[in-house]
Amino acid sequence: MTDVTTQADRPELEADEEHSAPFWQRLVAGSSTWIGLILVALILIFSVLEPSSFVDVDNARNIATDAAVLLVLATGMTFVIITAGIDLSVGAVLVFSGVVSARAMNGAGGDNWGVIILGLVVALAAGAGWGLVNGFLVAKAKIPPFIVTLGTLGISLGAALVITGGVDERNVPFKLITTIGTGRAFDQVPWLVIIAFAVAIVFGVILAMTRFGRYTYAIGSNEEAARRAGIAVDLHLMKVYCLAGTLAGLAGFLSLARFSTTTIGGHDTDNLQAIAAVVIGGTSLFGGIGTMLGSVFGVFIPAVLTNGFVIVGVQPFWQQIAVGAVLIGAVYLDQLRRRSQYQR
């Protein structure tokens, strides 16, 4: 750094000492704080309405297990949306990865960890492959991500149907189901939940504290500025889409473990659920803003609503209505907050 120092001729600036906002102020201003409070409020409301059945270890376990696969998808989606992109293909890539993973495990045969690891590697590789296709078309061919991933949604889901002939693959190694699928650590916490949270935490740390995360925000905030700052924008975008694809592959593997079948027809709205969770969590569709903690809250709000409605005896269909309203409300509040903050 060259240093240009002449402070003496501008004493009037001394009075205006710079400072960072205190912690509580940043806490209040942070969008994930408010979403977290909404989640806490929902839990409190259901707890008061049905204290016996809602406030229960088994129930908490159910909610977390239901949310686990979606949390893995939302983790990758958070990165993509922070770059001002979108990935509509995650649900289809999940299905495709599950199908080829199941095929590979059946092809190898046997019921041991070797086969399970083979299945995991195949699922991750399949997801990464679709992610690279998305990333290449977005970053190099400059096709809008909405169109690219809408296209690969159709192609990957279609490919999964062609491979299976439309019939779910029901033959999954038993060991996979009893361990990762339904097993629990210390007989308490489901492995699915542990894996999903580990993924969210690791990538949350990467997003918040590393150069990879910083570049993700910078590209979403101002792609041209990032380019001019010497950041390899195209390469970074390809990495981000590849990450989202790989995590969709992992989600496909986890889904396979949990349901012991490929559930081809069961993931049509996974993409929209993941996007809704990320956006409810305070991540801006315009890019540059968002946190992993917010996405975790955003995943659990619909999960808690569904579960709570069932327990208090409301038709579960109301969950869709409630989530839709929460989504719109969250984005509206976020815009109000941003408008007041950015008014200059």
Binding site: V4, Q7, Y217, Q341
Partner: protein, 272 residues
């Protein structure tokens, strides 16, 4: 007569059917403030972006310290010690001032964490704060997103970033366009101080009084070509405006001293 530090020769750049630069020449000498002036659409910003590595020239040559160089990317320009304050500032609005200051050259955490890609936000904030203070840029909160700051503060961050990292040349594309009186004063003072550090400044501006105040030399671009060059005190504002608009050619402009008729040979050296 000193050798030129940076020289563009016959730069041609087209965007589709628009020929933004038609064989433009441009010269920067060591340790001078040179103003690049021209009417709207004369090609000033395109020329600056070409020299900053944002655009690739279709034709022409760039010399740095007398050696031909190719500037394929902003990184190449950076390695030569060239930094740019773009007209749009090129700040990431959602990131804080420190993050923008160090965008693309983050300070990593020491040890293993740094190797794993962890960045040292605190160090970047502290060093940015020092840079802003020494340059007279006041920010209430260096951890707030740049989007929450005033136009003057944003300009201050962009200028500080360029000045902090440049070791040879700073391009400033209309650095005072969005500024009030006091902030404009700050930027103009800063330009003088940057030259005092031994750097060269290329100032792009429409504001003639400003140009006449700080520039050692003036180069005039018109329709993608250099049409005139002047040293400080050799020309009136009317003369420069005349050259910008094409109303006057350089050899018609009245000069206070007798110069050789070969303008390009006689006007290269900055006056000390």
């Amino acid at each position: 007569m000193p050798e030129p530090l940076l020289e563009a020769r016959g730069i041609v750049k087209s965007f589709g059917r628009v020929r933004a630069l038609r064989g433009a020449n441009f010269t920067v000498f060591p340790n001078e403030v040179v103003a690049l002036v021209g009417d709207n659409g004369a090609g000033k910003s395109t020329l600056v972006k070409t020299l900053a590595g944002v655009h690739q020239p279709d034709e022409g040559q760039i010399l740095f310290d007398g050696e031909p160089v190719e500037i394929h990317s902003p990184l190449d320009a950076r390695r030569l010690g060239i930094e740019t304050v773009y007209q749009d500032l090129a700040l990431a609005a959602e990131l804080d001032a420190g993050a923008n200051m160090f965008l693309g050259r983050e300070i990593m955490r020491p040890g293993l964490l740094g190797h794993l890609g962890f960045i040292d936000k605190q160090a970047m904030r502290t060093r940015s704060r020092e840079a802003f203070r020494s340059l007279g840029v006041t920010l209430q909160d260096t951890s707030a997103p740049v989007a929450t700051m005033s136009g003057g503060q944003r300009q201050g961050i962009a200028v500080s970033r360029a000045v902090t990292w440049a070791s040879k040349v700073v391009f400033m594309d209309e650095p005072t366009a969005a500024l009030g009186v006091v902030q404009t004063r700050n930027v103009l003072d800063l330009i003088g101080r940057v030259r005092g550090q031994g750097l060269s400044v290329v100032l792009i501006s429409h504001n003639m009084p400003e140009v006449f105040e700080v520039a050692d030399r003036i180069e005039v671009l018109r329709l993608g070509e250099r049409v005139a060059r002047f040293r400080r005190g050799e020309v009136s504002m009317e003369g420069v405006v005349g050259a910008m608009t094409g109303a006057i050619r350089q050899d018609e402009i009245e000069r206070p001293e007798a110069d050789p008729p070969d303008q390009d040979a006689g006007l290269d050296a900055p006056r000390r």
